[in-house]
Every structure is written in C-alpha cells, then in structure tokens.
C-alpha cells in the first residue's frame, strides 16, 4: 500500500504546489525553483505511465537513473535561486558564499581524487556512489551558505526559509540513504524505497506551507551609508582588535 500511497501523495502535493504557485504569482519570482518542480512533475508522470503500462519493461530501469540525474542537476537551480534571493542585497556576503561554494566543490573534488589512493576499496564507480557524491556537494553548499547567513546575521523570509529547509531535508535524507545503500548493498533497498519518496513528500509539504503566498525577503537597512571602503574597514577592525589583544595579554601576564 505504501508503495503507491507515498508517491501518489507526492504527485498530488506537487500539482497543488504548482497550482498555488501560479495563483500566488510565485512562478515568475522563483523561476529556477518552479522549473525544478515542473521537471520533477513531468518526470514522475512519464515514469508512472511507463511503470503502469508495462510493469515488467526494462524501459523503466533504463531511464530511472538518467532522469534522476536530470532532477539532481535542476536541483542545483534551487540552490542558485536560494543564493540569489537571500544574498543579493549583500554583495560582500554573496562573494563569501561563492568562495565557500567553490571551496566545498574543491573539497569534494580533492576527496574523490585522494580517497581511491588512501582507501583502496573506495571507488565512485557505481551510479549510486556518483549520485551520493553529487548530493554531498549540494549538502556542503547548503552548509556553506547557511554558515555565511548565520555569520553575517542575514535575515531570511518565510519563502526562502521554507525552500532551504525543504530542499535541505530532502538532500539530507538522500545523502544518508545513498551513503548507507552504497555501504550496506541491496539489503537496504526496502528501507530506501520508502525513505526516499517519504522525505520528498515531507519537503513538498514544507514548500506548500512556506510558499502558500509571496513573502519577500527582509530588505537590509540602508539608513547608514558607510563612507569608506572595505580595506579601511578591515584595517580599522584589525587595529582595534590588536590593541584589545595586547591589553588582554598584558592583563593576563601581569
């Protein structure tokens, strides 16, 4: 029963989300997100039709992974959407987030290069392992982005918060189940078959609540216009910190 109920609930939620997005005029505002959602809807309709018409056909097996990768790639658009909306008014923080994103990608790339040398049994050869690595990049990208958001105290509106939490939860479940599946083998398939679509349903539910109506991201306060450049700000902060450090050190030594 759960094999049908969970995907069916997911498809209903996806359609509801698209309808709500159209009625609340959100599709134009969050183009990448709705493009991702549209591609997921289209793919799930095609796959359901193939599965229903020819249950034993190898067509389903053959197309499952390529289409899964297609949604994974369009999923990067969701991350781009989040970064654009959350960090657009903060050019400095956006620069830092891009730096973190490149660093995360570099870390994974280095890990993929080094891991086979230090761990002979490790290889990203299978499709599952490759998807796991790509999900890992997404997870690190979200962690980096949230790190920047927390560090610079950047406010996030309801729409964006829901988008991040929903997509983050889905990536989290995917990463966990793919990592365990790659380690435990086919024995984990029964759990995976339920965990994966169920987590996507939870994400859809979060998106539906968060994206019910348009809620813009808080605009930064521009009452103060700083009249100096970044280098001057850093130099001043450094000199103040140096002085404080010297005094504290002196107090501790005395």
């Amino acid at each position: 029963m759960s094999r049908w109920l969970i995907p069916a609930a997911g498809e209903a939620l996806q359609l509801l989300l698209l309808v709500r997005g159209a009625r609340a005029h959100l599709i134009g505002r969050y183009r990448f997100f709705y493009f991702y959602l549209g591609s997921v809807v289209l793919i799930s309709i095609i796959m359901t039709a193939v599965f229903a018409m020819a249950p034993g056909s190898p067509l389903y097996q053959r197309w499952y992974w390529p289409l899964q990768f297609l949604t994974l790639v369009t999923g990067y658009g969701v991350l781009l959407e989040i970064m654009n909306h959350v960090l657009r008014p903060y050019q400095g923080a956006e620069r830092f987030a891009k730096f973190s994103g490149v660093a995360a990608f570099g870390a994974i790339f280095c890990f993929a290069l080094i891991a086979p040398r230090i761990m002979p049994h490790w290889s990203p050869g299978t499709v599952i392992e490759f998807e796991r690595d790509l999900r890992c990049v997404q997870a690190l990208f979200i962690c980096g982005l949230l790190g920047v958001v927390f560090y610079y105290g950047i406010p996030i509106g309801k729409n964006m918060k829901g988008m991040v939490v929903g997509y983050g939860l889905y990536i989290l479940t995917s990463l966990m189940s793919l990592a365990v599946r790659a380690y435990a083998g086919t024995g984990f398939d029964r759990v995976w078959d339920i965990a994966q679509p169920l987590s996507f349903d939870v994400s859809l539910l979060i998106w539906l609540v968060a994206l019910w109506s348009y809620c813009p991201n808080p605009v930064p306060d521009h009452t103060i216009h700083l009249e100096e450049d970044y280098e001057a700000l850093v130099a001043r902060t450094k000199s103040v910190m140096g002085a404080i450090r010297a005094h504290i050190g002196k107090a501790a030594r005395a």
Binding site: A139, V149, I156, K161, G168, L175, P220, D229, L233, A251
Partner: protein, 191 residues
C-alpha cells in the same frame, strides 16, 4: 566504513544547520538600530561601568587587607566571593564589547562587493581567539581569585580604559549628527 562515516558527518552538519535555521530569530543584525545600540552600549560602559577609577576601586587590594585584618572569617569569605563575582562580571563586559565590535564589523562588511574572504576568515579566527582569551581569564579569576596576581589590577584597569578608547574609534564614523538622527527611530522601536 571511513567513507560512510565521512558522509554521516556531513549529514549531521547539514541537519544541525537546518535545525538552527528553523529555530532562528529573523532579526537582522547590522541594521542602523543595532549599530546605534552598539554605540549606546559602549557609552554606557565608558561612563557607567568601566571608568578606570571604578575598576581600580573594585580590585583595590587595600579593601581586602582591611577586611582581612578587621572582619571575621565569614565576612572575609563573603567579601572575596563578591569581589570575584565583580571581576568575572567585568570580564563578561569586555567580552560583550568584543562581540559588539565583531557584530558591527560583520554588519558593515556584508555589504561590500570587494569583501576579501581570506581576510574575513582571519578576522573570524581573531575574534574567536579574543573571546576565548577573555573566557580563559574568567576561568583564571574564578579559580585563583581576583587578588591572585597583584599586578593584574593595574594592568586590568589600564586595559579597561584603552579598550573603551579603541572601541570608541571603531564606532567613530557614527558622528553625533547621524547618531541623533538614528536614535529617534531606535527609541521608538523599543517603545
């Protein structure tokens, strides 16, 4: 197994980030109100909490010597506990000031297109090291007491004055005219 642990750690990191985001207060840092509050906190520290004479009085060894020679044991213990609490409170204020400076820097830096990630990382580490040093000093005072190092009193008092002065410089760009213009909405917001 190592790769599984690696991915589970990343999963745990992502989960904690999402959890913090879900529980986060949507208040914006670095707004004009926050900057004015930072300036007001600094003024309060300079004029009410941390003048050099007051700090010298709090750490005055002659008070302890007088109490030690005149008062019974219970009073001496009470006096020492109170002075220790005061010293720890003072260090807490210094920490708060450093954090205020860090908040101010982040609030300003996030708008700069020319932000240098390497410099920002260096500053983040420096801020963490400074607050850590304050924590360590608090621990030292808690364990050894405010009179454990006699010369510490003078240096601490001097440091108090200089910290206020340097912090004042960091907020100097908020000149009086701009501050008074911003102070009205800040007060109204609190009401």
């Amino acid at each position: 197994m190592i790769s599984l642990i690696f991915f589970l750690c990343i999963g745990a990191l992502l989960f904690s980030s999402l959890f913090l985001l879900a529980r986060r207060n949507p208040r914006s840092e670095g707004s004009s109100t926050a900057l004015v509050e930072a300036q007001q906190a600094l003024t309060a520290l300079q004029t009410g909490l941390l003048p050099v004479a007051l700090v010298r009085r709090v750490f005055a060894r002659e008070d302890w010597e007088y109490v030690r020679s005149e008062a019974p044991r219970s009073v001496r213990e009470l006096f020492m506990d109170e002075r220790k609490s005061l010293a720890i409170l003072w260090l807490t204020q210094v920490r708060a000031q450093i954090r205020s400076l860090a908040r101010f820097h982040r609030g300003a830096a996030r708008h700069y297109a020319k932000l240098n990630p390497r410099l920002e990382l260096q500053l983040a580490i420096s801020f963490a090291a400074l607050t850590g040093a304050c924590r360590a000093l608090q621990l030292f005072v808690y364990v050894a007491g405010p009179y454990a190092a006699p010369q510490m009193v003078g240096a601490v008092a001097e440091a108090a004055g200089r910290i206020c002065k340097t912090s004042e410089q960091s907020l100097a760009f908020l000149n009086a005219a701009r501050l008074s213009a911003l102070a009205i909405p800040a007060t109204t917001a609190r009401l």
